[in-house]
């Protein structure tokens, strides 16, 4: 698992100057927390004083760039941060990676494997960090996991039950970038399309390029549908890095003051 070290030694060259010069550190206002379902037994929600911020979006939508900038900014403002993401648990991340390489698991199995990975991080990183008052930045959350399975025809009620363990985040941002743009960004980075991000296992097309476009369009459709239930903020990811950062910062500031 990758977590950032405690903020005390890190300076933030890229942060906006007004935050660095400000000596007064804002203490975030605690707001009531809840789980989507029954949650994790034995957790006292009132003790979770930190904030959970989730960034969702496809590969190439700029998630990691934005998270890196948010960490710089938040630490510059005096907030301690922790980062989590999918497939990073101590318990099953290696096995999950192995399974994906071989593409040998059926849907329900892979889905439950991811749910295990998620629950392990939730219990061992996210909840303890929130209890310690940290800002937790999640590079993807249960929505990606649910959407991937919904695209593959799995039952929504079943997924909602499985992820009834999840904590409702304080803010969720979904970075949207059109499939055509995503292709270009992926090629700029790797010169290749990822098997899973192209949804090749779904078999929409035997042509990887076509498959990628169709799959990503489907993913976006499902995300937009879930948006009405889960109320995440849709952020246009086709603007400049700075513009997107500014929008995210503004919205997170509201979370910090308890709006």
């Amino acid at each position: 698992m990758r977590t950032t070290p405690l903020a005390k030694t890190q300076r933030s060259p890229a942060a906006t100057p007004r935050h660095i010069t400000s000596r007064r550190v804002l203490v975030p206002k605690p707001t009531p927390k809840r789980f989507y379902g029954h949650g994790i037994p034995g957790v006292d929600l009132d003790q979770l004083t930190g904030k959970l911020v989730v960034i969702e979006g496809a590969d190439g939508s700029g998630r990691s760039t934005q998270i890196a900038r948010l960490v710089e900014w938040l630490e510059g403002c005096g907030h301690a941060t922790v980062q989590v993401g999918l497939k990073r648990s101590t318990l099953v991340s290696e096995e999950l990676e192995q399974a994906k390489q071989g593409n040998i698991l059926s849907h329900i199995t892979l889905s439950l494997f991811y749910a295990t990975d998620f629950a392990d991080q939730l219990e061992n990183i996210i909840l303890p960090a929130l209890k310690a008052g940290f800002m937790v930045l999640a590079d993807r959350y249960i929505y990606t996991l649910m959407v991937r399975d919904l695209v593959r025809g799995m039952d929504e009620a079943w997924l909602k039950n499985v992820y009834g363990t999840a904590l409702v985040p304080d803010a969720v941002f979904y970075l949207t970038v059109s499939p055509e743009q995503l292709v270009q960004r992926n090629f700029q980075k790797n010169h290749t399309l990822d098997y899973w991000e192209s949804g090749m296992d779904v078999g929409l097309s035997r042509d990887m390029f076509d498959c990628f476009l169709q799959y990503q369009a489907l993913v976006e459709k499902h995300f937009r549908r879930l948006q009405s239930t889960y109320g995440f903020t849709i952020v246009n990811g086709e603007r400049s890095v700075e513009d997107i950062s500014a929008e995210l910062q503004e919205k997170i500031e509201e979370v910090l003051v308890g709006n």
């Binding site: 318990l91 290696e94 096995e95 329900i108 439950l112 629950a119 219990e123």
Partner: protein, 226 residues
Amino acid sequence: MKTFAELSFPGRLIAVEGLDGSGKSTQIYLLKRWLELQGLKVFFSEWNSSDLVKSATSKGKKRELLTPTTFCLIHATDFADRYERQLVPLLRAGYIVLCDRYIFTAFARDTVRGCPPKWVRGIYNFAALPDLTFFFKADLEVSLHRILDGRPELKYFEAGMDLRLSSDPYESFRIFQGRILEQYLSMSTEFSFLVIDANQRVEAQQSLVRQLVLARIELSKFVLPK
């Protein structure tokens, strides 16, 4: 939830459930031998045995990393892997599949560990019900003796040590098994368990098991092709 027969699978699934030390593994082994020797299509599957998931499960157990939630999910993952890749295809191909423990093991254990029963059952609702479920009901003391008389090295989760019932593994095991027995008994009617008195001799139990299988499954339909 429906059984495989109700879902029109050509195969049939027989599950055995019971406490550790109830003698269920001996009984399902003898049942397997009997069916095999008649030249029938038989497959045997054990709880917690999917290769892929095993490494994560054993790591989790060795290092005591599991919480009730992840304990439940990782066993569900293991079950799903066997279910989707092995059990269902074999049942489609008309096999008699014998399972040493099935979803009821998870229902009992996870509930004792404090997971909400509705959540646990929801996770497993992709699985069809067995066509026959034998529950080997031994007195708690009998099962405990069979396991504990040798003073074996009890594993952490096996003894339910994660529940902090007692700092003594043997005492913890006793309390844990007692609670699991209660769970089994409360499911018995709901899931139509065929209850076998496991305090009887091995042969007496096996005789009953074979009679029940004969009465409920038309074995001639499961002959191996020549």
